[in-house]
């Protein structure tokens, strides 16, 4: 039986890959995807602990995280579309007007 | 009749009035509702004052409803000698102020009435609350209506003044909040149960050095409101409600600092008296150099507020009773002075003294009232301020003679700047022709000022009812203040438990020479 630490290590790795994705990519959509990846990492650790403690609460949290992710993506993509429609680009480097 | 929850009614009636005002259309109706409610509050108060038994020191008409059990906070309301007097003067002044500013406030009348009523509620709340948490809530609550009143109905630069006032007040209240919490925490540590009840907190034995910091925090919070000299610059712009704040701050001193921190007071009292005396002279000197009536009255309030603080920190029967009487007469005389000035300015809308002159024959009734108010604030015997001032001087003279002398010079300076204003505004030849057209006070205005004058002369000639109502509670307060001081090194000289004024008479020389030299 696989010890829970493996799962946790894996979820940490996924989470970090997602973070680097967010930090280094210029394309807004890819950044959003990075965030989705981070969320998935988190979900994995939820389920792993649910398994560990024999409580199904972890699943509920995953379920809720998914709904939040869905909402977040909906709004995120709407913004990206707006961004594209107004500025013609999706690269967040070129969108700096909201600064000092 | 007295089973009726009188105090709660007095506190919450104005709020009901404010709510009622929301449904009222038209300025005049709003003014009538505002005046009606405050007048009703005054009647209620009169009933309360009638039923008040002055020989008992402890709070009467007590009402207590548990509010937040977990914090040990309860809606705990009661009136003792001092608070009933201060609340009384508020109850009296509010309808007069509303009536006085009937035609002066013309912009957004309804909002003005609402804010004035809200402020009365919070003020009454402060005076009657016996629970520290509730006291703090009312104390903070008072800021909001004041901010708007100063901001909207103040005069030019009023929004800046309102902001400045707010920042000062917030600074003070933060310190107070910290102190309140530490007090509750200490009480919890000492007795296990968490409570904000003042009576309980009075009994708390706090180690001297902690007491020092707590006292400092409270004093700073109230000093901002008094205003004591370094924190006073917000007052000249926000003069509209200066007098109200002096009452609050002084009450804060009496109710919170004096009974709770006896040891700290042993060191702090002389310091505060010195600062207050300096404030008196400083405020008077600056008032001397003002050419704007409003700022002159503001600085004279600062000077008089110094007297009140002096009286409170004399820590004896005469000082405190003098301070309370002085607050009452200050509200009347300075309040009246400012109301009269507003009436004058409403006709000529300039605050500069030089623009007036020679008004004696054009508006004799107004000049007479202005004279009475000026003389009252100068402290002419036979008028109310003198009683307070003299008692304060008697009280302070016993503790710190030098400081009393400095404070007494304030009496001369007061005469100089007040009569200088009077000479510039009323006496002298009628040079400017726009002054000729000023019409004299209307019946309403005369009625308001006459009512104030009646009280000023009344308290001046026969102050005993006022003095007797608070005698018992001041006595109790002093016993409270000096309970720990006895064990402390012979800081204050009041050895016996009766009134702390030195046992005067034959053994006076022993008592005097011992600590005055």
């Amino acid at each position: 039986m696989i010890p829970v630490t493996y799962y946790l290590i894996l979820s940490a790795v996924l989470f970090l890959i997602g973070t680097t994705g967010v930090l280094i990519r210029r394309n807004a959509i890819i950044v959003l995807m990075g965030i989705e990846l981070m969320l998935n990492g988190a979900n994995l650790s939820f389920v792993a602990f649910a398994r560990e403690f024999g409580m199904a609460d972890g699943h509920i949290y995953v379920f809720l995280v998914i709904t939040v992710a869905a909402a977040e993506v909906a709004i995120g993509l709407a913004l990206v579309i707006l961004l594209f429609r107004n500025r013609g680009t999706v690269n967040i480097d070129e969108v700096r007007s909201l600064r000092w | 009749m007295t089973d009726l929850p009188l105090l709660s009614l007095i506190i919450w009636l104005p709020v009901l009035g404010a709510i009622l005002l929301l449904f009222v259309k038209g300025d005049v109706a709003a003014r009538w509702v505002g005046f009606g409610v405050t007048a009703l509050v005054f009647i209620l108060f009169a009933v309360c004052f009638g039923a008040f038994k002055s020989h008992i020191g402890d709070p009467q008409f007590v009402e207590r409803i548990p509010w937040i059990e977990t914090l040990g906070v309860s809606y705990y309301v009661g009136a003792d000698g001092i608070s009933i007097l201060l609340a009384g003067i508020t109850a009296l002044m509010w309808p007069l102020a509303l009536l006085g500013t009937w035609t002066i406030v013309t912009v957004r009348v309804r909002a003005y009435q609402v804010f004035m009523l809200l402020m009365q509620t919070t003020l009454m709340g402060v005076f009657f609350s016996l629970d520290l948490f509730q006291f703090f809530l009312f104390w903070e609550g008072m800021l909001i209506p004041m901010y708007f009143l100063i901001g909207i109905w103040g005069y030019e630069r009023s929004s800046m003044a309102a902001l400045k006032f707010f920042l000062f007040a917030i600074f003070g209240s933060l310190l107070m909040l910290a102190a309140v919490i530490t007090l509750a925490f200490l009480y919890h540590q000492a007795h296990g149960v968490l409570t904000f009840e003042m009576a309980a907190l009075y009994q708390l034995a706090i180690p001297p050095e902690v007491q020092f910091w707590l006292a400092l925090a409270f004093i700073a919070a109230f000093a901002v409101k008094v205003p004591m000299v370094p924190f006073h610059t917000w007052l000249p712009d926000a003069i509209v409600l200066a007098v109200v704040l002096v009452k609050m701050a002084a009450y804060g001193f009496i109710r919170l600092t004096l009974p709770m921190f006896p040891d700290a007071l042993a060191e702090l009292a002389p310091l505060m008296c010195g600062a207050a005396a300096a404030g008196i002279v400083y405020g008077a000197l600056i008032a001397l150099a003002q050419s704007d009536i409003r700022r002159m009255i503001a600085y004279s309030t600062i000077s008089h507020a110094g007297f009140v603080v002096l009286g409170v920190f004399a820590l004896n029967q005469h000082g405190i009773q003098g301070a309370v009487v002085h607050i009452v007469s200050l509200a009347l005389s300075t309040g009246g002075l400012f109301l009269a000035a507003m009436m004058l300015v409403q006709r000529r809308n300039t605050w500069d003294m030089e623009a007036y002159g020679g008004l004696w024959h054009t508006i004799p009734v107004f000049s007479a009232f202005l004279l009475i108010f000026s003389l009252a604030s100068v402290g002419l015997p036979g008028l109310s301020n003198f009683v307070g001032e003299f008692l304060i001087l008697v009280g302070v003279f016993q503790q710190h003679a030098a400081i009393a002398v400095v404070a007494a010079t304030g009496v001369i300076l007061a005469a100089v700047y007040m009569l200088r204003m009077y000479r510039k505004v009323i006496f002298g030849p009628l040079t400017r022709d726009e002054n000729r057209g000023i019409k004299d006070l209307s019946f309403r205005e005369t009625a308001v000022l006459a009512c104030m004058t009646l009280f000023i002369i009344g308290i001046g000639v026969y102050p005993n009812p006022v003095l007797r109502t608070m005698e018992a509670s001041v006595q109790k307060l002093l016993v409270q203040t000096h309970r720990l001081a006895e064990t402390a090194p012979a800081g204050t000289s009041g050895t016996s438990t009766e009134a702390a004024s030195r046992p005067v008479g034959l053994d006076a020389t022993r008592g005097i020479s011992q600590d005055n030299r």
Partner: protein, 171 residues
């Protein structure tokens, strides 16, 4: 035996996610992300979380990723030319590694690891729809309601944001 499955899924997940963040063509990124999600669903199954696995595939991979795909198609994004990466690439990687170390250390020090309880021994139907359902509507009723409202707001928001002629779009 299970170890192989775990390793397989883990490898697939990590490889495709790394590929995803390095991929120039957004469409391939989405596909790679779907691959990650499916592999994670597999892991869920290994952890007796059948309901969640299904949800993962149906909702997450199915719906959300399709939405991504749809948007990419809508915006007609082609391959990204030129500097795909922000200049802060090295800092990001270092940060990731730095972040990983304490977490890994903490996880390794976790005592309970290694003795996974017997799968059958636990209650029957663990992670089944029926158990999740009861939990959802008893203990977590409030969060569910809130989640529902959240979704509603998201939908309305998305519609309002992207409608032409509103203040947001600036026409």
């Amino acid at each position: 035996m299970e170890l192989y499955f775990f390793l397989f899924f883990a490898f697939v997940a990590v490889a495709s996610s790394v590929a995803m963040i390095l991929q120039r063509n957004p469409i391939y990124c989405v596909l790679l992300l779907i691959m990650v999600m499916i592999s994670i669903a597999g892991l869920y199954l290994m952890l007796d979380a059948q309901f969640v696995a299904i949800i993962q595939i149906v909702v997450y991979a199915g719906a959300i990723m399709v939405l991504f795909l749809f948007v990419i198609m809508l915006l007609n994004l082609s391959r990204e030319e030129g500097g795909m990466f922000r200049i802060q690439k090295p800092t990001a990687v270092i940060l990731a590694v730095l972040l990983f170390l304490p977490v890994a250390a903490m996880v390794m020090s976790y005592p309970g690891g290694g003795t996974a309880p017997p799968v059958e021994g636990s209650q029957a139907g663990f992670g089944e729809v029926e158990q999740i359902g009861t939990l959802l509507f008893t203990k977590y009723l409030l969060p569910v309601e809130i989640a529902a409202v959240l979704l509603l707001i998201a939908i309305v928001g998305a519609v309002v944001l992207t409608r032409k002629g509103t203040v947001a779009t600036g026409e």
